[in-house]
Symmetry: D2
Subunit: 368 residues, 4 copies
């Protein structure tokens, strides 16, 4: 069972509400002996933190992580690692109408119907703030991966924001960390900034986004068919992120339009093993990694918290016009980038460990 947990062996349980005393992640199954200091996790939380740039909300929280267990003298012990982030912005306030109203496109209404109790403070458990706990857990996964697979890289970036698309011909891996959109094309940043600024200040609207995460350097053989396939677990991990509505591996939905001759990645023999002429598969065949770049992509819907009024109802069934005041991210997809990376890190580590369990170290079948 896994209502609030994910992972087979490296198992993460997130807990906490947006405006409760604290939130965090219970990380079980981490290998022992992994160097771990709060700063190694903090760096990823800072990347995700609201208020980092003018395109995300200015909630003024340090998001400081504390490691409460599982680490002794700077190394993991193999026991559960408790990561806690205290909510400093936990002011008591009058939620008034919000508590009685359902925002169109928001989980307000379904949480109410399911649980019959609803934490209106910032969306409670359905808040995107829960993703901070994932990012913290992802920080642990990255350190463990560093120990197990030194060459591995995990990198997320935006490929679409509303009407704007990444120009893949200008793809620049090094640009990703150099701009607030984690856009692999610095030349487009100005246009993206203007678009978002206009959307927020003039249109009082929000916009969706697409995020791509690439795992480079993962070994062949990861993935446990049939129902713990690597792509299955990646799809679940990404779909579980707030506001995500679609997940793709490699060609993704476009595969529906391809012919077999176009889609097959031809193989030749290189110095270090098989070499693929293309990567339509996104690095995964039959649910198992092939050694190519693993490419997963997901779409984030536009936030439903906007200044433009929408029709809705109250708990008592009365019509009401909903306007969400306060400052909200016009594009939550931006902050989804580090979250997607964190989920990928957790899934990859989990599969490295799962592979080890059944297969021992390395791959079993040699080629060449």
């Amino acid at each position: 069972m896994s209502m609030n947990s994910f992972g087979h062996i490296f198992r993460v349980t997130t807990w906490g509400e947006s405006h409760g005393p604290a939130l965090g992640a219970t990380v079980d199954g981490c290998p022992p002996g992994v160097p771990l200091e709060p700063e190694m996790i903090q760096v990823w939380l800072d990347k995700r933190r609201p208020g980092q740039n003018k395109h995300t909300t200015q909630r003024n929280e340090p998001d400081q992580v504390r490691i409460l267990s599982g680490v002794y003298e700077g190394k993991t012990t193999g026991t559960p690692i408790q990561l806690m982030i205290e909510n400093t912005d936990q002011r008591s306030k009058d939620y008034g109408e919000i508590e009685k109203t359902f925002r169109p496109g928001h989980a307000d209404i379904t949480y109410w119907q399911k649980y019959g109790i609803r934490d209106p403070r910032g969306g409670g458990r359905s808040s995107a703030r829960e993703t901070a706990a994932r990012v913290a857990a992802g920080g642990v996964a990255r350190e463990a991966l560093k120990a197990l697979l030194p060459g591995l890289q995990i990198k997320g970036y935006m490929t679409q924001m509303g009407a704007l698309h990444l120009d893949r011909d200008k793809f620049d891996w090094n640009a990703i960390d150099q701009n607030p959109f984690w856009l692999p094309d610095n030349s487009a940043v100005k246009e993206w900034e203007d678009y978002l600024h206009h959307l927020r200040t003039k249109e009082h609207d929000s916009v969706g986004a697409a995020v791509e995460v690439v795992v480079r350097g993962a070994p062949a053989g990861l993935g446990a068919p049939i129902y713990a396939k690597l792509d299955t677990d990646l799809a679940a991990a990404m779909m579980s992120i707030n506001a995500v509505k679609g997940v793709e591996i490699g060609e993704g939905m476009a595969a529906a339009g391809l012919k077999g001759t176009e889609n097959a990645d031809e193989i030749s023999m290189g110095d270090d093993g098989p070499v693929f002429a293309s990567n339509h598969a996104g690095g995964i065949l039959g649910g198992i990694s092939s050694g190519q770049d693993i490419v997963v992509r997901f779409a984030v819907k536009p936030t439903s918290s906007i200044l433009t009024p929408r029709q809705s109802i109250t708990k008592s069934g009365d019509p009401i016009e909903v306007v969400t005041k306060g400052r909200h991210d016009p594009c939550v997809g931006i902050r989804a980038v580090p979250v997607g990376e964190a989920m990928a890190a957790c899934v990859i580590l989990d599969h490295v460990m799962l592979h080890r369990a059944q297969m021992g170290e390395g791959v079993r079948g040699k080629i060449g």
Copy 2:
């Protein structure tokens, strides 16, 4: 752990290889007292069966299911239900080169790398034949759902095949069962047939497809946030199907291009509860069903088994040109329709049971 199992409470484990003695599904957690006869399962297997129409392979197998346990006097007992389908087409044959060669775009190479042992008989465990076991399990889920939620409907259909798209303006729910593509538009069937015929006989190629599954009549409240969200589990279920490369809920990847004003489904009060003006959400908000139609869509890549030669290598690393002879489905997406339905049935039943565990019967929060 779940290498070959899925579901939290209604738990399905599929087993078996394409050309072994038999394959099947072990179904655990089914409620007791559900009427179940082999015929109730057989009907769905017949729908999926190869050789049903000229667009799918003519493997001449009856795919006859046997119920080996869990049923007494025509009713489930609450104990594990073992469903077995014997492979009658299990002839011993010389696989020759196939055993030593990796087909581009196929799981041949990754299974070999992972396991170091490979069952070449029809792809072994990576064969689409495994999905027959899912369809059988789905048949059980459908009967249990019939008992628990009498009004529920689950329907799958194709929305794309290569260059051809379903014209949503002509959408006809009743047409779905009337043509070999499960296409909700009878007027397009001729064009789809010609397209596929040409592809197979003239181009010696295969093609991808998109399949949509709709669950109509599901109650609000299904889904267990955060990591057992209904959409998370649907995404995992669909991505675990052979050849699937993308999964979408509601707007799916198109959500990346929408604005908040466009995406929010406005709410009003109807006679029987909340009414939504649109369904961009695909019936799921915050991972919980809203009572609207649940809409999930997935893309199936074109099969890699084609007559047109592709470059590849052998186990020893030597270059080889691969041509897959024998008759193969030019569009495996067609047979993915009943598989998608079966997976949806299993996931919905599982979540009905999971909801019941934590919440008891029905929804907790009333509206109006």
Copy 3:
């Protein structure tokens, strides 16, 4: 997977080390709407707390529990409940030889061999202090059970301490809460106190104990054969408690000496259903509760931390004589009583929920 979690649906993960910053329990799957305040949990922690009486260690800690999530306005929301107990006695100290020495009968040596890293601060994760987190989780389970099964009682007591045995002829249910041994016989308390006092002050030794937990008022039908039988899960729950070496249901090990005529609990019909003439079964038949008192018993070994010297080795393999100074419980079995109760509460709640998932409310088969 469940390295640090237990429960199928009501799922508890404990975390934390004896002398780290904090320890606690992540409780997932609790039904929503259950009244929950810290005081409802604190009362059980106080019962378990060291220093409560002269027979347990005087570690001076308030063991104050904080609820960090999952509760809104005094009621559970259905989301994860994080329970944290800060370690106030977390002084930095020189562990000196302890860190290099293996205490005979202690987990020192196996933790070292397994993990290659060892938290010497009070035993780290292997400390009995971990059970405080279980007791806290048990407090949540009790409140949920109160809501679901108002008449249910869970009561633990000692039946043996070294050479002393409970005289079952004098069994007094009401006495249990009236003495420091939770002994159902006040007349024996003086003898137990003298025995323990002599053991500690004169013999410098420790002693084992047997604890029995009774669940009264549980409905028939709980338990999910074959591998989630109620007795299976109770056995696992109790065996997972520190220092427990044996678990019994009903007659337990004595069943090996019984004949069929002696062991069968004869049945007659009472006003409210079946009535059993005896309870050799301990309330469980075929892994399912029968409606009788559920009786589980476990043995706790004597602590290995004693003042009398024992032969052992250091990490480098050198012989050393080990004496554990500082004040330690001469009978850890006393504090195991509330822990056993807590585990029983969690298991029973979990099975109530699991039963509900598959079967709905109540039992399916009527008698009479």
Copy 4:
């Protein structure tokens, strides 16, 4: 969830009823490349089979196992292994009164109350026949262990049958396989035979038993604290066997009567690592194996199917005197020996794999 499954990574699901068409085990997670032929499994089934000697029931079934999946050319492939045993003794018969009556001490009544449907054919799912599937799965585990830990031995034997106890001073490891009781003392066999013969033919009664299983040669480090401790999982595995009422590790319940000075196993340094002066711990400290013999013991209650009449009720609540005709084992504990061995094999393999997942190969902490 695990209603009919056990194991974390090496995961076994048993299915089938006593008199249905077949029963078996779905074994998931087995390492690939393990040599496996039906005969390697059959040998253990033959050991357990009724009718093997005059002290067990004479049900005339060959219990022939078939491997339906997961093996290719005599080696496991890493995919699910389906083991099926067809029930040849599946005659349709009139169960008459049995179907309406509850046998005292039998799961009849609780299955009825829980499920409201009951398979009277030989006890359905609650029949000891289910253990044949466990023994088959254990056969797979043994072969995998042979590959991973060549020196490992797993041996079960009886230590008690009613009033008779094994004389530990005469313990003879080699005698175990030489007599029908798997008794490590050939000199006592005659007495045991007479006792059982008298019980069956003269007293028309049955009797309980205690079985001990020893795992010799297991490495230190197995076990995943806190809730997947090796002893926790062994306790659950044994308690899940039909009719088992108690489980002990090492000293077991007797630990309640020991002092700390008596219980601690003193340690010295040997040529190959630590040497323990005694084994009160049963080879497990803090839930982790120490490298000593792992010793687990369980009590099996006497079967409730006896010729001597017992008072009971029918479904309609009427009083009835129950006598179970037909030939039944007077001591089901005899056949529990190979079952206990099989469960131990599965648990040990599972923990070897789980250890590998988190820790890689071998132990982490060196001594000396």
